[in-house]
Amino acid sequence: MPRRVLARIRKWAAGRKAIVVLLAGFAVGIAMLTLAGTTLVHTSSEQFCAFNCHEMATNVAVEYKNTIHDKNRTGVRATCPDCHVPRAPIPLYVRKMGAVNDLWGHLVTHSIDTREKFEAKRQVLAERVWTYMKGNDSRECRYCHSVKNMDPEKQSEKAQARHARAHKEKLTCIDCHFAIAHNEPQGGRGPQELEVDRSIISRGSIF
């Protein structure tokens, strides 16, 4: 903050009763928190994620349309942030900091501003998301899909058998359920081929 502004605030505060200054500070505090909170809510909405930015609107958001998470029997949807923005405060803030990277790519390097550039980077980008999801045991999937509330009797026999096998082999959701909302990258590694270290601490507690 420029020194002149600071001096002005000091002078203003010194000319008033302390209680008035305290209440003014109180209002400033509430305003700041409201602004921060509203920004977080707004930037975690489908409106913001899918329509505000060229890269998302023309690629991933278009592909997502009419997939099972957009349109299904019950009309219960999962939109962009449901899968790609963490719910818990610390991972959420860390993820939001990562948005600086998006702005860098958009404004400075123009890394995926055409369909061709996006397709060329699809494998890299997909691997990044798969690694993230493997690292936190598909936390965002599990926020909605709770394993202990799944009714095996309502699942197909194939699904039951595969889930049982996945439990045994310590696979996580994204290992099999990939490319369900966006086009599958062609030719490269799938999530099961990716090496992700999950041994030290639960990455999900931070990232």
Binding site: L6, I9, R10, A13, A14, G15, R16, K17, A18, I19, V20, V21, L22, L23, A24, G25, F26, A27, V28, G29, I30, M32, L33, T34, G37, D70, K71, N72, R73, T74, G75, V76, R77, C144, H145, S146, V147, K148, N149, M150, D151, K154, Q155
Partner: protein
């Protein structure tokens, strides 16, 4: 301790400073964060289903194993998803309605036994049905978007009934009632429309 009190009293006589301003901002942040966190906590399944005797032994127990609790995909809707509005203003109004719960819990003991709850079941259900009819099943629709329903994945019976529901100006709760709690004896939501709920 006394110096703290003196400092508080000084707020009314002493002049302010930058420190006081920053201190006030810190208090504002803490107070507002507490209010917000409490709102989040008061909208959790832990709070609604497990903190209070009346809810735990009656509606929460009945809800266990229903389709909103256990289903194919494991995607759940818990108490607040259906019973607490998601918009800000309706949320605050609903939270103020909690005083009615406190009054019933501490003063009148209105449903503290299973018998009392059963005796009031129809009246309580009616209250929820009217609320849902009046706002066109807003909480249902927060998750279940008509525009995102795939008719081809629904049974022909469901498609036909939804069509009829739209034509007759019905709302979700008119048909989908008693799906998470036991059905009370007496008139259902569709019989209430003429008497209580204004059409949207």
């Amino acid at each position: 301790m006394f110096s703290f009190i003196r400092r508080i009293r000084g707020l009314w006589s002493n002049p302010g400073s930058l420190g006081v301003l920053v201190g006030g901002a810190a208090v504002g942040v803490v107070v507002f964060a507490s209010v917000g966190s409490f709102m989040v906590y008061a909208n959790s399944e832990t709070f609604c289903a497990e903190s209070c005797h009346e809810m735990t032994v009656n509606p929460a127990a009945e809800y266990k194993g229903t389709v909103h609790d256990v289903n194919r995909s494991g995607v759940r809707a818990t108490c607040p998803d259906c019973h607490v509005p998601h918009g800000y203003v309706p949320n605050y109004i609903a939270k103020l309605g909690l005083f009615s719960d406190y009054w019933g819990h501490f003063v009148t003991n209105s449903i503290d036994t299973k018998e009392k709850f059963e005796a009031k079941r129809h009246e309580l259900a009616k209250r929820v049905w009217v609320y849902m009819k009046e706002n066109d099943s807003r909480e249902c629709r927060h998750c279940h978007t008509s525009a995102s329903m795939d008719a081809e994945r629904q049974t022909p019976k469901a498609v036909a009934r939804h069509e009829r529901g739209r034509n007759e100006g019905l709302t979700c709760i008119d048909c989908h009632f008693a799906i998470a709690h036991k059905e009370p004896d007496g008139p259902g939501p569709q019989e209430l429309s003429a008497a209580n709920a204004p059409k949207n």
